[in-house]
Amino acid sequence: MAGTAKVGVSASVLVAGEIASRSVQVARVVLPTGMGEGVFETIERQVKGREQEARRSEQQGLGDVASAAESVLNRVVVEIVDMLDMEQLIDHVPIDRVVARVDLPAVIDAIDLSGVVREATTGLSGESVDGLRSGLMGMDTWSARVVDKILRRKQPRDLSIHTTGTPSMGTGAMEMLP
């Protein structure tokens, strides 16, 4: 309400300013040249200042009114939706026709469903295999430790491979492209 009042006042000020400005112009034409020039300039300056102030106030008032209207509209919509019987509404909506309009292959293409499924399955199977390998790796270490203890070995096992030839670890296979 305050916003609406502000807009009304600003509009009145703008109208009054416009009238004053026009009156000064008329007076300048009617009166002899040079007469009352200082007074007119002062009036015009004052009117301009008031007009600028009124415009600022008007803009602010318009913003307030818009947000107030939005708030009221939201409340009204929520109230109306609450009053509706959704079951009945859904019964009356032609869902089949809506679904028929949807381009499902395009939607699926956009989602890259196959990529999602591939990533998920690869991740799951990969993690379970990693778990199995890690478990057996632990048993490797444990069994070696038990045997070393029985044989009363003090030094840990040397598991390193001293590479001198063409490395084969992690090189993978080579393939030719035309």
Partner: protein
């Protein structure tokens, strides 16, 4: 997109490229033997039924003599292990366990050595037990043929050779060949 996955277990990460222990190797060998047995039995049954369907009045799966079964499984196992170790360095069982068979100097295993190793392993399984006792996790087959089995969970992407690579390689070869003797 890289096929490489991150190894979350830190201990497993540290052991990549190191000699694998007895348990992993035994499980991998077990998977291989099981696979060969399944292939043999499946192949024999399907082959036998198919033969009867086309050339016999009734369908029946006869049991061949034991010596024949054992010999055929042995031949199949030797061929399978040789092919796996001599090419990719791993069989299906070793692929599952993330292991690779290499020479003890880290280089790739060739077919003749792979065949000898496969011959020994298929003939006498307990050679692997030596890996429990050996200080470097070597089975008797590794000691005999200078091989090693290493943890290698994720081999790198295959190296793709383009014509540019080949041309560059040929240029280096040509320069080497054309160099005067004694220079």
């Amino acid at each position: 997109m890289s096929r490489q996955r991150e190894i979350r277990n830190q201990r497993a990460q540290e052991l990549q490229g190191q000699r694998a222990g007895f348990v992993s190797r035994a499980v991998a060998s077990g998977i291989d033997v099981l696979l060969v047995l399944c292939v043999y039995v499946g192949g024999y049954v399907i082959g036998s039924i198919a033969w009867d369907l086309f050339f016999s009045q009734s369908v029946a799966v006869s049991v061949p003599p034991h010596w024949l079964n054992e010999s055929l499984v042995w031949v199949l196992l030797v061929a399978y292990l040789t092919a796996g170790w001599g090419t990719a360095g791993r069989t299906f069982g070793k692929q599952v366990m993330g292991l690779r068979v290499i020479r003890s100097d880290g280089s790739r295993l060739r077919l003749p050595r792979a065949f000898l190793r496969a011959f020994l392993c298929a003939s006498f399984f307990p050679v692997l037990l030596w890996a429990l006792l050996d200080r470097r996790n070597r089975g008797l087959e590794d000691v005999a043929f200078g091989t090693a089995v290493a943890y290698d969970w994720f081999p790198e992407e295959p190296v793709t050779l383009t014509l540019d690579h080949v041309e560059a390689h040929l240029e280096i070869e040509a320069r080497t060949v054309s160099r005067p003797i004694g220079s």
